[in-house]
């Protein structure tokens, strides 16, 4: 039986908190890094190192999210919200950098699981015609999470009694929303049907863990994975440290950082839209090469210039090209694989190769760019040098990536396949 429109609207509102807070939580770390450093009195290298265990939480989330196939989507989502809220609250109470790291790790585990289950619920509950739009709405709210941090920063929340800790206390909002509305959220119909089949001993066999590495798909998985990895290390290194770099190496104030981020993310959305149009018009490969090159060039300008006006435009364009490349990357991550393996291949690309960038990019920048002990000694040059890592990615796209423009996909759309493992049959 199809869900009513009213229920689907309510479900979407409930799930939005998962994606919104993924963007929100990640951005607190990036935008309030100087404040967190000041509280705990640690070097850039230690800040960078702590990002490794923190971001590994997203990797652990991959395994937690898989449990939703066993216990159900609804209970896992609800417990993930409780877990995230608990760890976000504990983060606000951190007494040293290691307590902060541990609580942020826990927060990432539950947030990652929450995000993944939210996407699965949309894929399973929304009819095909409305699915892509619902997913688009969810993803938009991830970006709005970043913008919200910038707004709160501009409003001076960090100047209150609780300093940066107040930002983490905002993380209890999803729990309040779910406490009120949890009884109105149901288990997905596909999971209920699957559970019944399982009880009768007719359950759908799960796709083997390593199925995406089988010989027919291996080459494309390695190819797409390396392109993701080589983009994500410098990209996440840059986004994690820009605010710190702007304040400590270029003399920006917190308010200027907030304004720059607000405008840059606004333009970043345009880059996303243009990419979607361009890849249909000129093809995936040329679009990806243009966006990768744009991301590299404008990021290097951003991390080298001392001129505030140039910096402003460089940030807008770096975000526009750097973030905006996502549609074409999604296309590579899904269109090169047949339907039966697409979801799992996309999960490997995102949860292993891309998360490696989340983990190592910020760490590398912090360790090599440490003002006192780093081999390079400043954040600006370190990020600029790391950007060169994207060149092999551009080479791989030019030399090996098949063009998939105009290719018909039979079931899942690229976006939904990229964000979830194959939903239940």
């Amino acid at each position: 039986m199809a869900r009513s429109d009213r229920y689907l609207r309510l479900l979407l509102i409930l799930l939005i908190s998962a994606t919104f807070f993924e963007g929100y939580d990640s951005s607190i770390l990036a935008l309030l890094l100087p404040n967190i450093q000041a509280t705990f009195h640690v070097s850039e290298a230690v800040l960078g190192l702590t990002r490794i265990p923190i971001e590994l939480g997203l990797f652990v989330a991959f395994f937690l999210a898989r449990q939703s196939d066993r216990v159900g989507r609804r209970p896992l989502l609800l417990w993930s919200v409780v877990g995230y809220t608990l760890f976000a609250g504990l983060t606000a109470l951190s007494w040293n950098i290691w307590a902060f790291t541990f609580f942020q790790f826990g927060s990432r585990v539950f947030l990652g699981a929450e995000f993944s289950v939210a996407i699965t619920m949309v894929v399973e509950e929304f009819p095909v015609a409305r699915r892509a739009r619902a997913l688009g709405t969810l993803l938009t709210f991830e970006g709005l999470g970043t913008i919200m941090v910038a707004i709160l920063l501009g409003l001076g929340l960090q100047n209150g009694r609780l300093d940066w800790r107040a930002f983490f206390l905002v993380g209890i909002v999803p729990l309040l929303v779910l406490t009120v509305l949890r009884r109105r959220m149901h288990e997905t119909e596909r999971f209920v049907e699957e559970r019944k089949r399982r009880e009768r001993g007719e359950g759908t066999p799960r796709t083997p863990f390593l199925a995406a590495w089988a010989s027919p798909y291996r080459r494309n998985l390695v190819l797409v994975g390396m392109v993701y990895l080589m983009r994500s290390i410098p990209f996440f290194g840059a986004t994690a440290w820009w605010a710190y770099y702007a304040e400590r190496e270029r003399g920006f104030t917190e308010t200027q950082v907030a304004v720059y981020i607000l405008v840059a993310y606004g333009i970043g959305c345009v880059g996303y839209y243009v990419c979607g149009r361009l890849m249909e018009r000129i093809g995936r490969r040329p679009t990806a090469i243009i966006y990768f090159l744009g991301g590299v060039v404008f990021s290097i300008i951003l991390f080298q210039t001392t001129d505030r006006v140039v910096s402003f435009f460089a940030l807008m364009l770096a975000v526009g090209f750097g973030l905006g490349v996502q549609p074409v990357l999604s296309a590579f991550g899904t269109e090169l694989f047949p339907t039966e393996i697409r979801g799992q291949a996309a999960a490997w690309v995102r949860n292993w190769f891309e998360i490696a960038g989340y983990v190592f990019g910020p760490a590398l920048v912090g360790i090599l760019g440490d003002h006192s002990t780093g081999a390079i000694g400043n954040i600006g040059d370190t990020v600029s040098l790391l950007m060169i890592m994207q060149l092999p990615g551009i080479y791989l796209i030019w030399r090996y990536m098949p063009e998939t423009k105009g290719l018909e996909l039979d079931e899942l759309s690229p976006v939904e396949a990229l964000l979830t493992e194959t939903p239940l049959a």
Partner: protein, 204 residues
């Protein structure tokens, strides 16, 4: 679901082990590259940040200890506002410039900061810290007025540190090497996949 040419779990574990060894190797390489770097600019920045927190409730004791390890907090008296909000650092921003040699073991590091007043950013302070080297560490020994030409980056001065040209050339070289490795990995994945496919075709 059975998939043709599926990867064995043992092979997967072996690949993960190789990746972990490569990561550990890179970690050791970075540790070696970082060894021996003790920049006066970093010490000056850390001292000023710690001094700024000596009046901040909750972290004041730890901040004082950290600052004293680098240089006497008393030297910073002219930089501190007469009244401040104990919830925040006494400086609203902070930037240090490039160190200039001033004797065999002494350097001068220009800096720029704003005092933080309850009403917002306060007066701008532009001075220079004098640091002396003791062994491998730098200690703040004096606060001085700026000499001509002493500027931080946002005032048009040179960057506190700059990656040498050889590093930029090395990074381009590394990019080429990485592209070659990526090329070889893709070719290898292609060849093993074809081999596995033809083996399973023969078996069937």
């Amino acid at each position: 679901m059975a998939v043709q040419g599926e990867v064995r779990r043992a092979t997967f574990v072996r690949v993960i082990a190789i990746v972990l060894v490569v990561i550990a190797g890179l970690g050791l390489l970075i540790h070696t590259l970082n060894a021996g770097h003790h920049r006066p600019e970093g010490a000056a920045e850390r001292w000023l940040a710690a001094v700024g927190d000596t009046g901040r409730k909750g972290v004041d004791h730890q901040a004082r200890q950290q600052a004293e390890r680098i240089g006497p907090v008393a030297l910073a008296a002219p930089l501190l506002p007469s009244t401040h909000d104990p919830r925040h650092s006494e400086f609203s921003d902070l930037e240090v410039g490039k160190a200039r040699r001033d004797g065999s073991d002494t350097v001068r590091v220009p800096f720029r900061l704003h005092q933080r007043l309850a009403s917002g950013a306060g007066p701008l302070k532009q001075d220079t810290l004098v640091l002396h080297r003791a062994g491998s560490t730098w200690h703040v020994v004096a606060l001085d007025t700026r000499r001509p030409g002493e500027k931080v980056r946002s005032e048009g001065g040179p960057p506190a540190t700059r990656a040498p040209l050889v590093l930029w050339l090395g990074a381009i070289g590394l990019g080429v090497v990485l592209a070659l490795i990526a090329h070889l990995i893709t070719r290898y994945a292609d060849i093993t996949a074809q081999r596995a496919a033809s083996a399973s075709a023969r078996a069937s």
